[in-house]
Each structure stands twice: as C-alpha cells, then as structure tokens.
C-alpha cells in the first residue's frame, strides 16, 4: 500500500542535503533562501507552471530542535520524586540534543496524479528555477534532464506515514473549473433575484453559454492567480 497516496492525491516529500559551500560571502543555504524569497516577490510563483500542483512549499532546515521543558513522559514525572533533586538528576532528565551535519532543502507538494509525471513536469516547465535552487544540493550536479531529475528526486523522497486529504482529490483543472463555476453562479444568483420568469430563463441560457460548465479547460480560473474571477 502506498501511504503517499490518498485516492488520486499524492504527498511528495523531499529532503535534499545542501552542500556547505560559500559564494559571495553567503552560504549556499542562504542563497537558496534568497532565491525562494525572490519567488515570493514575483506576481505568480513558478510553481504555477507545473500542472496539478494543489499546494506546495519549500524551506531550508538548518537544524533540528529539542524542547527541554518538561513534557508529560514518565521520566519527567519521576525526576520530580526527590524533594530536592540534585543537579545530576535534573540534567539527566533533560533530553539528549541532536544536531544535523548538513542543512536540508525541504520540498513538499500536494499534487494530483502520478508523481513521475509531476516531476517530469517540474523539469519541463520550471527547469531554470529548479536549477537555481537545487544547484547547491549534493547529488544534483549530475542532473541534466528530466530522467536525471526524477532519479535524483527519488533519492531524496521520504514516505508519508499518513496522508490526509481534507478537501478532495480531483484534478487541479476540475477543482479550478468548479471554483470558477461556484464564483460565477453565486454572482448570477445574486444579480438575477429581481428578474421575471421569462427574463430569468433568458439570463440562465446566456449564463450557461458563457460559463460552459462541461468544458473543463475554459473558461476557468488560472492556477496560482490570487484575483482569479474576482476583478471582472
């Protein structure tokens, strides 16, 4: 059973080790951050070009953290049995602290359909953007095409233990069309409240011809555009 899948939705999780290099007085991890920050300032994210991306994210994992406040475990409770615990007892109750030897670029995507096709799409539609961030990662230097990128990505993939789909697993095109219809129909219902029966029927016919509910491709919302269907 593939726990990365829930129906037609797929949870892609990549942990990509970053090289410890420095360029122009900045470490590679910060150069990746700069690049990702520049995407934040673009009108539309480059990920909008990749078909079937519902939601995805990038972040740089510098290290892992262990909270040292008492939790709810039996050891935390036992450490308080002494009336005046010694320093040794106190310190022994603190958890061990791990530290990573490499920084990691973490990429997770919630996508529709086949993950291989998705990764090929990433290479096809945002190759330059992919190179601009992954060039600082171990193992990416050998990637020259979509096949190489898929092979690289598979080495970085982590399996989900549980993937929960709270909305639905329809294709992105279906979701965007449905959202477009919802927006337009809600507006139509509002605007036609005072029409007579003959006027309403005419308006409905024109509305259905305009929104074409059975044509998934058009008219519809554009992926990643924040004012889709609003400023008409």
């Amino acid at each position: 059973m593939n726990r990365n899948k829930s129906g037609n939705a797929y949870a892609l999780t990549m942990l990509c080790p970053i090289k410890p290099g420095v360029k122009d007085n900045r470490i590679y991890a910060d150069l990746i951050r700069d690049q990702l920050e520049s995407w934040n300032l673009a009108p539309v994210s480059p990920l909008a070009k990749v078909p079937n991306t519902y939601l995805c994210r990038f972040f740089v994992l510098d290290d892992i953290y262990t909270e040292s406040l008492p939790g709810a475990s039996i050891w935390d409770a036992l450490s308080d049995l002494s009336i005046i615990p010694s320093n040794k007892q106190r310190l022994a109750a603190l958890p061990h602290t791990d530290s990573l030897k490499s920084r990691y670029l973490v990429f997770t995507s919630n996508l529709y359909g086949d993950v291989d096709a998705y990764l090929a799409g990433m290479w096809q539609y945002m190759q330059d953007d992919v190179k601009s961030i992954w060039q600082y990662c171990y193992g990416f230097e050998d990637v020259v095409d979509a096949v190489g990128f898929k092979a690289y990505a598979k080495k970085c993939c982590m399996d989900s233990s549980l993937f929960f789909v709270g909305s639905n697993d329809d294709s992105l095109a279906d979701q965007l069309k449905a959202l477009y219809i919802k927006q337009e129909f809600s507006r139509f219902a509002q605007e036609t409240q005072d029409l007579s029966a003959p006027e309403l029927k005419l308006a409905y016919t024109a509305f259905m011809q305009r929104v074409k509910p059975r044509d998934i491709s058009s008219p519809t919302w554009t992926a990643g555009v924040s004012n889709a269907g609003f400023d008409k």
Partner: protein
C-alpha cells in the same frame, strides 16, 4: 519567509521521537489508515486542505554523495506538514478543542510532548518545533478548503440541473425549478473574496508595484 499563500497557512512541525517509539507511531498511523473511523475527528476539522505525517528514521536522512557527512542522530524525527485556512491560533486551538485525544495519539511518543491539554504548554511545544516556510504556493489562493468541497457539489448539481431541464417547460415552471436548485445549494453558494491580507508575499508585490508606478510617473514628469 512566507507561511501564508492566499487563504492557506503552511505549518511545518519537526519533533524528535525515540527510534523504537517511531516504529510504534508508524503502527498507529497504519491502524488509522486501516480503520478510517479513527480519522473522523480529523474530518470534522474542515479547515484543512491537505496534511501529512512523515517519520524519518535516525539513519534515513538522505546521503547523496561520498563527500556528504552522514548524520549521527540519537532520535528519529516526525515531520508534520499541514495546509489549512485561518490563523495559527485558530488551527492549533481547533486541534486541542476538537480532537485532543487524537492529537495525543499521534504525538504521544514524541520527546517532551506535553499533551494537547492544557493549551499553553502545547502552544509552546508547537512554536518551539515549528520551522518557517521560505516559499509557499497555493493554486487557488482565494479559496478555502470548504470552497473547494462546496464548489464540486455546486458544479455537479448545476450540470445535473441543466441536463434534466425541460426546454419545453413554461417560464414559470423553469423559475420554480431554478429556485429549488438555489434552495438546495444555499449552503454551497458564496462569492470568494480576498482576505484582508491575501499573503505577505502578495502584499509585498502590491507595495513594490505601486512604488515602481510612482517612480515611473516621477521620471516621466521630469
């Protein structure tokens, strides 16, 4: 940094777990998948688009080059990624108030997990272990998870209504059936709008574009 994209918030929480309780947690997740009713509580949290739990073993961090130092870790790590609507507080509190036992079941074995009740230590735990997102993309920034679900229902209902429509029927009969459609869909209809701040990134773009416009206009005048 951008934890927000449109109406969605991206949360990343990474918590240490002993390697052997990590396997126990995997077993709990396996049962949750096998017995779907254990996830009923999660389903009531309709503000979630997608969420996942990933357990990375202490020796499972990827090694892609002989030059890369291998990690030497005491603990395995549980990674939690969620996409939800609303604020951080609304989300974290809704977990605590709606499914405290479910939350404890999934995190129980994580190091220093304080349990979901009381709230303040739980907030502290999540805050301490949360990693900020550097870039977050949302294909439908204007839509909440409930919009996606209701849009599907509305779309299908409209196509069904249209397919059943009797073109020979009188205008009054059409109006009556149309009103029935509106009544049936009243919980699914709503126009989607910008939230006050669509995203920190989008707001930055708007500010920058406005500044560029002013600069261009100033240059033209000169």
């Amino acid at each position: 940094m951008s934890n927000i994209a449109g109406k969605a918030y991206a949360i990343n929480v990474i918590t240490p777990i002993r390697w052997w309780t990590g396997w126990l947690n995997k077993l709990i997740f396996w049962f949750a998948i096998k017995i779907p009713k254990t996830l009923n509580g999660l389903i009531t949290l309709s503000l979630i688009h997608y969420a996942r739990w990933v357990i990375v073993g202490r020796d499972q961090f990827p090694v892609l080059s002989p030059d890369q130092p291998k990690e030497n870790l005491r603990y395995s790590y549980m990674l939690f990624f969620s996409n939800f609507n609303g604020s951080w507080e609304q989300y974290v509190d809704s977990f605590t108030f709606a499914i405290p036992s479910g939350l404890d079941m999934f995190w129980k074995w994580n190091i220093r997990y304080p349990k979901s009740v009381p709230l303040t230590p739980f907030h502290d735990y999540i805050r301490y272990n949360q990693i900020q997102t550097d870039h977050y993309y949302n294909a439908y920034p204007m839509a909440a998870s409930n919009d996606v679900k209701s849009a599907k229902k509305l779309h299908l209902a409209l196509m069904d209504f249209d397919a059943r429509l009797d073109v020979q029927a009188s205008d009054e009969a059409f109006q009556k059936s149309f009103f029935k459609l509106l009544r049936d869909l009243q919980h699914d209809m709503a126009t989607m709008r910008h939230t006050p701040i669509v995203s920190m990134a989008a707001e930055s773009v708007q500010i920058r574009l406005a500044a560029d416009r002013v600069r261009r206009e100033t240059l033209t005048l000169e």
